[in-house]
């Protein structure tokens, strides 16, 4: 029924290339994480982060030297970096967990940092600090477990919903695309050494939702076309559907990318990691919706003619396997 739209790209022809590219990035990310580790924010790793605002400009080296001299243990493993707008003279000091941040001693390390800075003759700085964050060692593990559980459960429920509304293979396609997005985003976080913080986790989970959005729009069109284009192969139906929704995919992802980029450039230091994750997530989410999700459906179902595959949501979700195969054979024979 449908006349061809302006575009007519053969997206599925590129599925193997797309899969190869994705695997390369994911494996490179895995290697990066395995060798260098993924930098964890203080919420997950535990430890102390203090942000001090100085009245006059100080260099990171000066602060470093002061901590090396004044901290017990010579300030080992302490990270010092400039924070936010340079004109603000803010310095972030991060001390990894010493295991002592519990009970009454929670803020011991924060005090040691302040004392070391005071003793070094640096310009006056804010007291209390601009911001302090102290996380005891047990909190991180709990958060990690909760995060994994939340991600796993939300994937299972989305799979269930899509299996109910579409077909099981569509659910699998969406979930594989989502897991793909998660892994790619983690890989990019590892490449660019962004800390894995709670905000970043929020961004990752949101972007997986966004990517599922994209995927569903394409699937919805495939579902619709499956009803009207019974003679075509699934391969063609998928390609046509992706092409038909392409304008919409580009506009939506483009506008979302605009807002994410605005957050990245103007959102300030606190939102930096969050916005970076969103940018990566939107790009990989769009890519996976177009190249991965539908490809998975076609792998799962083979390249059978549509007639066999066209069981709209009205049909019982678990279509009996036997008759379907028979139909396929018939179709091939005819």
């Amino acid at each position: 029924m449908h006349i061809l739209k302006k575009t007519n790209f053969d997206f599925l022809r590129w599925r193997w290339h797309a899969l190869a590219l994705s695997w390369i990035i994911i494996i490179a990310g895995a290697i990066s994480i395995a060798t260098k580790g993924i930098p964890k924010g203080v919420e997950f790793a535990g430890g102390t982060v203090v942000i001090e605002k100085f009245e006059q400009p100080v260099s990171v080296q000066q602060v470093r030297a002061a901590l090396d001299k004044g901290m017990p243990g010579g300030g080992q493993n302490v990270v010092v970096q400039a924070y936010g707008d340079p004109s603000q003279n803010q310095v972030l000091v991060r001390v990894p967990s010493t295991g002592g941040e519990s009970g009454a001693d929670l803020s011991k390390v924060a005090k040691q940092v302040a004392d070391a800075l005071k003793g070094a003759g640096l310009p006056k700085f804010s007291d209390p600090p601009v911001s302090t964050e102290i996380v005891g060692p047990t909190v991180g593990q709990e958060l990690t477990n909760k995060g994994l559980l939340a991600t796993g459960l939300s994937l299972i429920f989305i799979l269930g919903y899509l299996a109910f509304r579409f077909q099981f293979s569509f659910g699998v396609g969406a979930i594989v695309a989502t897991i793909h997005d998660l892994l790619i985003t983690l890989a990019f976080l590892a490449f660019f050494r962004y800390d894995l913080t709670l905000n970043v986790i929020a961004a990752i989970l949101t972007m997986t939702g966004f990517s599922t959005n994209d995927t569903i729009v394409i699937f919805d069109r495939i579902r619709e076309n499956l009803r009207s284009m019974r003679r075509d192969s699934l391969y063609n139906v998928i390609n046509i559907s992706v092409n038909q929704t392409l304008t919409r995919t580009i506009i939506t992802s483009g506008t979302a990318l605009l807002t994410a980029l605005a957050l990245f450039f103007f959102g300030g230091e606190v939102l930096h990691g969050f916005a970076f994750t969103m940018v990566v997530g939107i790009i990989t989410g769009t890519y996976s919706s177009v190249f991965i999700a539908a490809a998975i459906v076609s792998f799962w179902r083979g390249n059978a003619p549509v007639r066999a595959a066209a069981s709209a949501p009205a049909a019982p979700p678990a279509a009996p396997q036997q008759p379907q195969r028979k139909k396929q054979r018939n179709a091939r024979a005819s």
């Binding site: 009454a104 909190v139 939340a150 989970l205 599922t212 959005n213 729009v217 979302a256 605005a262 959102g267």
Partner: protein, 528 residues
């Protein structure tokens, strides 16, 4: 037409309600317009990361409460066995939930088993050579733990209220954690000390002491029965050395018998805390003091003797705690005593302090970024969809207004990730409009006519939108479940945004198209 009129009325009423709920209070606040309080009652709240303050997570050591119960019950069994002349060699607590009785003679075994039934909260193990292990029943353990957390939360609430912090938030997190958020508090250490110290007050009669060593109070190297040795201060000013007192195990009165406590200077004009007992406490206190005139009374706070004044005469309800307190210490102690003791110790797991300047910076850059992003999107929509783009922008503004109103109504706290959630909602709103408009374009190209195209566009996209929104809601729900503080704000913003977006993109936007069509006699073209 009738239908369209009702739609317009619905749209207008929704707009008015949500502007009054969400937008008006913010504007009125910003420009100092005096308004009736019912309008201002539900204001959008800012999270700690935006207005600055302290965020503390602490763990209630629920084992403390179990141990206390274990001590009390084993002590009761000891008394009961004594009164029934059942002999035993020792009763000792072996874990927070277990105690053990040793050396019950074979001949008295049956009697012991009967007596042991009194400690109903404990399961008696089968005896072995006259030794019995008593284990607290699991349901009692669970109840005690739960109670301890609830009591700790209530005590902290009372203390925080006494501190006079505006809009504190104290909530239980998980099974044994308490999250305290104190906006605008600068002195974190003091706040932590006030919330976290047990403040358990006991007044006990001194039998002997003070002595510089523990051993000096023991009889043949053993603690006399019914007695305790408690460390304490000498009571003389400027002397920091520790001395020991032998006191009766049973308290005359405890912090539970207090009616009030406040800081008042003593006769030397040094800070001290005077307290008043309630009627029941006063009766006990009066009896004990009149029987023990001439002896010392130990005032024990959290297991340490603060002072041990001599009892000169019968005292009924009023007393005073002296010690070497600074004025602030005395004030804080009075506050803690007024609000009651913690049932169990606390350990701090997490602490986050955000200075007000950082919060203000975050708001500014967050809002700036969001406005910049939105402006870009609006410009794009207007260029790409021409006049229909206006329709989309109006739907977007509607969405924003409803979102603000609902957030204020439900008391959702606006956090930094919440601002990002706002931006994301706008993004999803744009997406819905794009989906619909692209569909309308397709239908128009298929020569369907304007009216039919619009109807088909909205109709066909409806279920797509439902599917995408439900999937997004599923992830938002789990995000809420998993998140703490800021993340929850984000998940809430996103969920509310999704719901309001479904309404605006389908209902409001369609109504505007219909208004547009109703004004034209014949619709042959559409600016899209």
């Amino acid at each position: 037409m009738q239908n369209l009129r009702w739609k317009i009325i619905t749209v207008v009423v929704t707009l008015v309600v949500f502007v009054a709920l969400g937008v008006y209070p913010i504007v009125a606040q910003r420009y100092g317009i005096t308004s009736p309080s019912w309008l201002m009652a539900k204001q959008l709240k800012l999270g700690l990361d935006l207005k600055g303050g302290v965020h503390l997570v602490m763990k209630v050591q629920t084992d403390d409460a179990l141990k206390l119960e274990c001590d009390i019950e084993s002590e009761r069994l000891r008394e009961s066995l004594k009164s029934k002349t059942i002999t035993f060699s020792d009763i000792s607590t072996i874990s927070p939930t277990q105690f053990r009785v040793d050396g019950v003679p074979q001949a008295q075994d049956a009697n012991f088993r009967v007596a042991a039934q009194e400690v109903a909260n404990f399961e008696r193990g089968s005896g072995n050579n006259g030794s019995y292990v008593f284990t607290m029943r699991p349901n009692i353990q669970a109840n005690l733990r739960e109670e301890a957390v609830v009591q700790a939360r209530q005590t902290i609430e009372r203390r925080v209220n006494e501190l006079g912090v505006a809009e504190p938030s104290i909530s239980q997190q998980g099974s044994d954690q308490i999250l305290v958020q104190l906006p605008g508090v600068a002195d974190v250490e003091r706040a932590k000390e006030i919330m976290g110290s047990p403040a358990f007050l006991e007044l006990k009669i001194v039998e002997q002491g003070p002595s510089p060593t523990k051993e000096g109070l023991e009889v043949n190297g053993q603690l006399p029965t019914g007695m305790d040795i408690v460390p304490g201060n000498t009571g003389t000013l400027g002397d920091a050395s520790t001395v020991y007192y032998l006191v009766r195990k049973a308290s005359v009165v405890t912090g539970r018998d207090l009616r009030n406590a406040r800081e008042t200077p003593d006769e030397n004009n040094l800070p001290a805390i005077s307290f008043t007992l309630n009627a029941e406490g006063g009766r006990k206190f009066g009896k004990a003091t009149s029987e023990n005139i001439g002896r010392q009374l130990a005032i024990i706070l959290d297991g340490r003797v603060q002072s041990a004044p001599r009892i000169e005469s019968r005292i009924n309800t009023d007393g005073r705690i002296t010690g070497s307190f600074s004025l602030e210490e005395a004030n804080d102690l009075a506050l803690k005593l007024r609000s009651g003791a913690l049932p169990a110790g606390l350990t701090y797991l997490q602490e986050r302090t955000i200075g007000p300047s950082l919060g203000a910076d975050s708001i500014r850059s967050g809002v700036e970024a969001s406005v910049a992003g939105l402006a870009l999107v609006v410009v794009f929509m207007l260029i790409y969809y021409k006049l229909s783009g206006i329709n989309a922008v109006i739907a977007l503004i509607f969405n924003l207004v409803i979102l603000l109103g609902l957030m204020a109504y439900f008391g959702v706290v606006m956090t930094l990730p919440g601002i990002a959630g706002f931006v994301l909602t706008m993004g999803i709103g744009v997406d819905s409009n794009v989906l619909i408009f692209e569909r309308i374009k397709e239908e128009l190209e298929a020569q369907r006519g304007v009216r039919a195209s619009i109807n088909a566009g909205f109709g066909r996209v409806f279920w797509t939108l439902v599917d995408t929104h439900v999937a997004a809601l599923i992830s938002a729900a789990f995000l809420f479940q998993f998140g703490t503080g800021p993340i929850r704000g984000f998940a809430m913003t996103l969920s509310i945004g999704l719901a309001s977006n479904l309404f605006t993109s389908i209902f409001v936007s369609k109504t505007f198209f219909e208004i547009e069509l109703a004004q034209r006699r014949s619709a042959t073209t559409l600016s899209i």
